[in-house]
Amino acid sequence: MFRRLSFSLIQSRGIKHQVNIKWVRPEYVPAYKAERSGDLEALPNIPTSALGQYYALSEEMKNASEAVKKLFSVAHLGKKEYNQLVKTHMISKVKRHQYDENTAETRIARLTGHIRCLQDTMEKFPKNVKAKQTVQELIDKRKKLLKFLRQYDYKKFEWLLEKLNLEYKGHPETYHKLSRKESLRKLTEMHCDDIKNKKLADYRNLLESQQGPFLRKKLEALNFIRNEQIELQLPITVTEQDIKKVEQQLEEWTIKDEIKQQAKKKKRNVLIETE
């Protein structure tokens, strides 16, 4: 008995919601994921048979046999060498000159290469805590560098985003934990706005639909008044310009009305098809 009572008490404790809105809490996405870090691209297409960065420069490697080449390929040398290749590939996209190592764009490119490698690692080994920490730090550092670059050279900033295929989002006003109450408040506000806008649009439609018949009546009345005045030789108060103006308004209205009717028909057809 008591248990049932307490259960019903707990049930009624939450906010009683008048509006029928279903709130779906956004799923948690780890910060190292590409969608959070702003990387629109995964690792570049580098084959595992590629030679290590410095071995590729050697004279002997050019005439070496297949077996030797295989031994000095990235697949055999390890992940570290492969990551180095990725970084140099990213840097080569934005390099100013051959010896460019430490300008803002090359630093960001290098960080981007490193981040994408670590993201790949995290996909394979989600429990690698060290990689998780490192990639988070690198993402933050890159964001900071991008922020500074944006401040002193906007054109280069935009060019860099395009070249490295990155996304940059500004800082929100506050970083806070999402609460149910806040979300419901915002949703309710949006719902109210929708209702308001819909009512306003309906009223507007109603008024606009009455415009045509009124204009037609007005045109008739004006013509009648003008003809009467001419017949009875009274001073003419309705000029031809007035009549022309009303005619023009009527024409405009008919064109608008036709477009509206067609849109309505289309909507109806779509509805019937979906049913």
Partner: protein
């Protein structure tokens, strides 16, 4: 007297920075000011926000602009209008020589340096670069305020974090 004067001047012209906003025909301007705390005898920063009428979108986020009060309030919110963009954001000009600057160096000097080292094709070219704004809404999401994602909508809003 002095306070009155200050208030009247405030109505005339103000210098502020453009901040992101969702308004269509207006921009939000932040005016920074220092306020004296009489107990501590110290100045603390105090921001004031003004909504300025700007249908042509003269200023973009981050620009330093001059604003002036409208003779009549346009709406309850919009009280000022943008008069002039003084310093465009991320496009610094040295006031002494009139040359363009990136951080602490002239852009020309940077170009000369990279040419001496042997300029590569991958290098950024200032002459070919389009004016600011071509990435706005595509990869650069700074023109509108970002917020914490609070619901799963059908359409994904890029400004939700």
């Amino acid at each position: 007297m002095a306070r009155n004067l200050a208030e009247n001047v405030r109505k005339l012209l103000l210098l502020g920075q453009c901040v992101p906003t969702v308004k269509q025909n207006a921009t939000k301007i932040r005016v920074k000011r220092l306020e004296l705390d009489e107990n501590l005898l110290m100045y603390f920063r105090k921001d004031e926000f003004y909504y300025c009428y700007d249908p042509e979108k003269k200023c973009q986020t981050g620009d330093i602009v001059l604003i002036e009060a409208l003779p009549r309030k346009l709406t309850k919110l919009i009280t000022h209008q943008v008069k002039e963009v003084v310093y465009p954001f991320g496009d610094v000009t040295d006031p002494v020589t009139g040359k363009k600057v990136a951080k602490e160096r002239y852009r020309d000097d940077i170009d000369i340096q990279s040419e001496l080292y042997g300029k590569l094709e991958s290098a950024f070219d200032y002459k070919k670069a389009p004016p600011r704004g071509w990435q706005d809404g595509k990869k650069d999401f700074t023109s509108k305020p970002t917020y914490t994602k609070f619901h799963v909508f059908d359409e994904n809003d890029p400004y939700a974090i």
